[in-house]
Amino acid sequence: MARITASVYTSHVPAIGVAIDHGKTGEPYWQPLFKGYEYSRQWLEDHRPDVIFLVYNDHATAFSLELIPTFAIGCAAEFAPADEGYGPRPVPKVIGHPELASHIAQSVIQDDFDLTIVNRMDVDHGLTVPLSLMCGQPQAWPCPVIPFAVNVVQYPVPSGRRCFQLGQAIGRAVQSYDEPLKVQIWGTGGMSHQLQGPRAGLINAEWDQRFLDRLIADPAGLAQVPHIEYVREAGSEGIELVMWLIARGAMSEHPPRVVHRFYHVPASNTAVGHLILENP
């Protein structure tokens, strides 16, 4: 039986990818940020999963306005890093896990969540920056990755409650897979940030810290927070945080072990939050 061993939460700011790709991680601006992930890289080496189920959002890369799936699961054998306008990031291609992905798709759809199945998709910084933060610059990523893209570009995005319930369904789906795989689920995006309009640059550290507290101790309560609170308090792009609730929902109902917590402002326009929770 497969099981979810841990969940990882992190922001996926594109400038972090640029800093890594251009060897700027030691610069004074970036040094405190990358220091916050040193523990995490060692932890991932010590707790290498068989598969990472990576929840992220596509930033108008694979999905234009022609097609806007609310939840899309990548079932392909591999996914290429996308050219987002600057040329593709120099990172390894992402190897998928079509068997587990298809199993989860079937299970979750039978559980009343209408996923879109994607068999061809390039993956953008939303997926590759978390991998870079957690793995550095390897020749190949440490294990297969199942990309799970959530629409947070065109409103309305799925509610926190829906995301949390979907995570619970993903947790059940993983447990019903026969092969004894160790699976990690990662939730990415956020934390507070706004990239548009005269309110660009908004950061709300107090709200972010409370979000982290509640994600750990009261995720079901946190899942009731409506969209408008994210927009008003954490900025229009802070809404990405609903994706963290998918990862949290897939965890055991018993309290998790908090093995790492980190928060830093700023990375470019964004507050960076990071958590690692292990299942008991």
């Binding site: 108008a60 234009s64 306005l65 306008g85 548009q196 005269p198 309110r199 640059g201 326009n269």
Partner: protein, 157 residues
């Protein structure tokens, strides 16, 4: 019954909903086309000619030519799509975001290093935070503009 849009009273913020998306469809699809290197080269060679290949409004084309991102957003653009224009120009996301505030690049960067923009006064229209309409543009440029305006008014008196 009309749709529930509780986000219309957030200052300095446009939520990209179905209505905005419909307005901005071709503007955003034009932006998408810049993800291909060949298209970026063609756009850079003759921006106007490239824009004329798209069924965008004249207002949308002018906003792109002027790189006026606030105007692009008002006309239905979404920042993740508009970012492709910035990428084509070799600008960072921070430069793009900062350009919408009226602050200089250095002013905006400094604000972020100091912890970003405060939410205080910026939750609802009608408060007095720095993102409110009556405080635009921000930064030294805005202060100079308002000082000149005040001097002008005094002079006329």
């Amino acid at each position: 019954m009309s749709l529930n849009k509780p986000y219309l009273d957030v200052p300095g913020t446009t939520i990209f909903d179905a209505e905005q998306s419909r307005k901005g469809y071709w503007l955003n699809q034009f932006c998408m086309s810049l993800m291909k290197a060949d298209n970026r080269a063609r756009f850079k060679a003759d921006e106007r000619a490239y824009l004329d290949e798209w069924p965008m409004s004249e207002d949308q084309k002018q906003a792109v030519l002027a790189r006026d991102l606030n105007r692009c957003i008002a006309l239905g653009g979404n920042i993740y799509f508009l970012a492709k224009i910035g990428a084509t120009d070799g600008r960072s996301f921070q430069q793009m975001a900062g350009s919408m505030t009226g602050m200089s690049e250095e002013e905006y960067r400094e604000m972020m290093i100091k912890g970003g923009r405060s939410v205080e006064g910026n939750r609802h229209l009608g408060e007095d935070g720095d993102a409110q309409p009556h405080r635009q543009p921000q930064g030294a440029a805005g202060r100079a503009l308002r000082a000149a305006g005040a001097a002008g008014r005094t002079g006329r008196r």
